[in-house]
Symmetry: C2
Subunit: 229 residues, 2 copies
């Protein structure tokens, strides 16, 4: 068992180095980036579609989609107007920095303002692997239940924002928003929780405004960028 | 990377041996067992509650609950009337046979007819680790979307039954039951798909009948069992 731990540490160290390389490439290209994580079916792809459409007049968006199989999600992102690349993880429960590096190879980043990395649907594994993205986003959804922060604490720590999706279903399922918010707050004090519905569009302006603010704060002039490097 | 694969194979081999030990212990005790797998929030614990209550006059049920943190699920199973043990996986995305062995140590199996093992909420990892259970059950849920068999094929192969939960939400979300069924059928031809709602109780009689049939078919007289060993 010791051997296993050592190997896992080596893999994570190599991953961190590759994540730093990805970050440098994104910085060089002036691209702001998000790592979207969630359970299967929480609405990552629907939020990507809404985001691409909602920011169309402000930011040019590219998407890297991670899934075990199919290109269904990248197809949806592309149909919404994004430059999109699908990565199939061959059974792995998460994207890693190496996969994202290959995704960057396949994308032309010139003219891209925002890169959204849509991780594999999983509340455990993705959070272990840095990808090089600037912000981490967790999407929870109402039908999953209000107990998820308590049962999957690792996924709520270290997030920069938590999106609670499918609030249109609140009338039809047992979900105590206060219990959910309290669970998140304990793990990640002060983190912003945005309640949205990708079906009705409720709450999406606040989400789009958050991205715009974050991307704007990150933006530097070409001169500043050159001076940094 | 080669080293990693070798280590992973060793772990899986050791797991298979421990799973065989678990199976032998269950056989010796005359216990029929299910391994319940699903995404986070698909309704595993709700189905456990409904099953314990629904079979109360036929089968004495014990539950082993796997979660990263808390004993919320085992508490619910116990409140429903089951003998219940919680296993916290310390960050692991699945139960393994060793953990279940410890769960069996903690349970008194005398007088138990049915053991339900509720795995960690995850559509990728649990299917890789045999636990020793007699039947594998996947619970899907309507709000997760009809594309899940296509995107998480590994979780649908090798299942003995697929339960589609939360059909009470069909009027409120986009979900094409035929597309879902087709996706499952391609991966697992002929597998039974049971549509249920743990909220309204719809479809649960068929689920309970399936368990009763399976447990009955598995039941052998003490003499037969002694003759086998």
């Amino acid at each position: 068992m010791t051997q296993r731990v050592v190997v896992a540490e080596k893999i994570l160290k190599a991953n961190d180095e590759l994540a730093a390389e990805n970050r440098a490439r994104l910085e060089d290209a002036g691209v702001f980036s998000l790592n979207l994580m969630a359970s299967p079916g929480a609405g990552k792809t629907s939020l990507v579609e809404r985001t691409v459409a909602g920011l169309a007049d402000q930011l040019r968006v590219a998407v890297i989609d991670g899934d075990l199989a199919t290109s269904l999600d990248a197809d949806r992102a592309a149909a919404a107007g994004a430059r999109a690349v699908q990565i199939n993880t061959n059974g792995q429960c998460h994207l890693d920095a190496n996969m994202v590096g290959h995704g960057l190879d396949a994308l032309d980043l010139s003219g891209v303002d925002l890169l959204i990395i849509e991780n594999v649907g999983n509340l455990v594994c993705p959070v272990e692997f840095a990808l090089g993205a600037h912000r981490n986003v967790l999407i929870a959804s109402v039908p999953e239940g209000d107990d998820k922060p308590y049962k999957y604490p690792g996924s709520y720590r270290g997030m920069d924002v938590v999106v609670l999706n499918k609030i249109d279903l609140l009338p039809y399922v047992r979900f105590d928003v206060d219990r959910f918010r309290h669970g998140v707050e304990v793990l990640n004090p002060g983190v912003r929780i945005l309640e949205v519905s990708c079906t009705t569009g409720a709450g999406l302006p606040a989400w789009l405004a958050w991205i715009s603010e974050q991307a704007e704060a990150h933006r530097v002039s070409p001169d500043e960028r050159r001076a940094r490097t």
